[in-house]
Structure formats: structure tokens, C-alpha cells
């Protein structure tokens, strides 16, 4: 089942600032909604997101219920060297997802 989509340029020049776009499939149930029978629907959200570049953190975030469903977060990084970008999301009910992308820096 498709979980996350990453948009990062495959190639970049050394020192160039690149944009990284991330999208993850998640309902982000806020915990403030009621069902048709008046029951409070329990919170179920992603609470943390991290991106590492060859093992070093370049971006992280704490997410709260006010984040829209299917969280979309974009940020930037300096293309320093070729390697691997790893993305991790964790949240309520033991939710955990990872994705990775490679970048070639010349």
C-alpha cells in the first residue's frame, strides 16, 4: 500500500539549495470530531517527522492535530554530497513509516 511520496531532484550541483517535498498518507484524525452517534472519535495523528541526509538530521518537526490530513511538508537543504535522504514519520497507535530517496551531487 503506497504510503509516502517524496519529491527531491535526482541530481544537483554541490552547494545548490534544493527543495524537498514530502507527502504521507494519513487520516490525521484530530480527536475533536464526533461520529454521527455522538461518540468522540479518538485522536490518531502523526506526531513527528524527520529527514536525515547521509545520517545527519537536516529537518524535523512535531506535528499537532491542526495539521491537515495526508501531511504535506516542504523544506530545503544544501546539496553537499551524493547520498541518501531518509524520511521517518511516527505517531499515535504505534504508527511508523519510512521512505528514502537518493541524490547525486556533482
Amino acid at each position: 500500500m503506497a504510503r509516502a511520496l517524496i519529491n527531491v531532484p535526482a541530481k544537483a550541483k554541490r552547494g545548490e539549495v534544493v527543495a524537498i517535498k514530502t507527502l504521507i498518507s494519513h487520516v490525521m484524525e484530530s480527536g475533536f470530531r464526533y461520529s454521527n452517534t455522538g461518540q468522540l472519535i479518538p485522536r490518531n495523528i502523526i506526531t513527528w517527522f524527520q529527514c536525515t541526509y547521509n545520517g545527519e538530521e537536516i529537518f524535523s518537526a512535531e506535528l499537532h492535530a491542526a495539521m491537515a490530513a495526508n501531511p504535506f511538508i516542504t523544506f530545503h537543504t544544501v546539496a553537499t554530497e551524493s547520498g541518501k535522504l531518509e524520511f521517518t514519520w511516527t505517531g499515535d497507535n504505534g504508527f511508523s513509516a519510512t521512505e528514502s530517496a537518493t541524490i547525486t551531487v556533482e
Binding site: 455522538g38 461518540q39 545527519e56 491542526a66 501531511p71 511538508i73 523544506f75 530545503h76
Partner: protein
């Protein structure tokens, strides 16, 4: 607002509390809607007692959004993003959702550019605040008022 002066949301909330109390052992406390004071308290909890100055931060949200469930939100902070002078974090808060925090993003000199964007949920017309924390310990902010309309044709 119906003829009884209640909104649909109030009616459902009351129903939820009653349902919780009627048959079950615990009554779940439902937090009150956030207020400007609650937002200030949340800001203090995140950034401590430092003073926040308006400036350096640009918060882009469309003034009239199509749907409060998905509000595009972009924050740019003026900063050279060098190892000595960079943006450490960007925090977004809201005034009227049930909960005042939206997201806290941690950047660093490796970011190259202090420009982030995301999609947030806003329950009502309200003010959204973005606060940037710089490497020199200073805090800067920007705020925008956003108008949220309910869709004309709801599903239930």
C-alpha cells in the same frame, strides 16, 4: 446557527458528553476551544519567556480559503542561513482551533534557505501566527487573519 441559538457543533458536543456520561465509567473531558489567551500560553510553553518581535518572518496563507480542512501555509524567514546565523525553528500557532499548536519545525544551517510550507486545518476564521527562533536566541513573528467559510453543501 439554528432557531434555538445553538450551532450544530454545540449540539453534537453536548450529545457526546451526555453519551459518555450515561453508560460508561469515565467521562472524557473535552477541551474548550482555544482562545487568544490559550494561544499565548502555548507560545510561552514552546519558546519560554523570550520576547518576540514582529518582523523577518513572512507567513503566506490565502486570505479566503476554499476549505478549512486544507489550508496551504508557507513561512519564509530572512536569514543568511550560515553556520553562525541561521533559523533554528519555525513554530505555527492558531487562535481558535480546539488546540493552539499546529507544527514546530526544526531547521539548521544545512537548510540553505529558511522556507517551509505545509497544509493546516483551521476550524474558523482566525489569526494564525508564525514564530521563528534564530541562532542568536532572538524570536521573530508574523501573523495573518484567515477567513474560513463552511462549504455550502455539507454531506450530512
Amino acid at each position: 446557527m439554528n432557531q434555538y441559538g445553538t450551532t450544530r457543533r454545540d449540539v453534537l458536543k453536548a450529545a457526546g458528553i451526555l453519551a459518555a456520561g450515561a453508560g460508561t465509567a469515565t467521562i472524557r473531558a473535552v477541551p474548550a476551544d482555544a482562545t487568544p489567551a490559550a494561544m499565548q500560553a502555548a507560545i510561552r510553553r514552546v519558546i519560554g519567556e523570550a520576547s518576540v518581535k514582529p518582523g523577518k518572518v513572512s507567513l503566506e496563507i490565502p486570505p479566503l480559503v476554499e476549505n478549512g480542512n486544507t489550508v496551504p501555509c508557507a513561512v519564509t524567514v530572512e536569514s543568511p542561513m550560515t553556520a553562525k546565523d541561521y533559523v533554528k525553528a519555525v513554530h505555527i500557532f492558531n487562535e481558535k482551533n480546539p488546540q493552539p499548536n499546529v507544527i514546530s519545525m526544526h531547521l539548521g544551517p544545512r537548510a540553505g534557505r529558511a522556507n517551509v510550507s505545509t497544509r493546516i486545518r483551521l476550524s474558523d476564521t482566525q489569526t494564525v501566527v508564525a514564530i521563528a527562533e534564530l541562532s542568536d536566541g532572538s524570536f521573530w513573528s508574523a501573523s495573518t487573519n484567515v477567513i474560513i467559510t463552511l462549504g455550502a453543501c455539507l454531506e450530512d
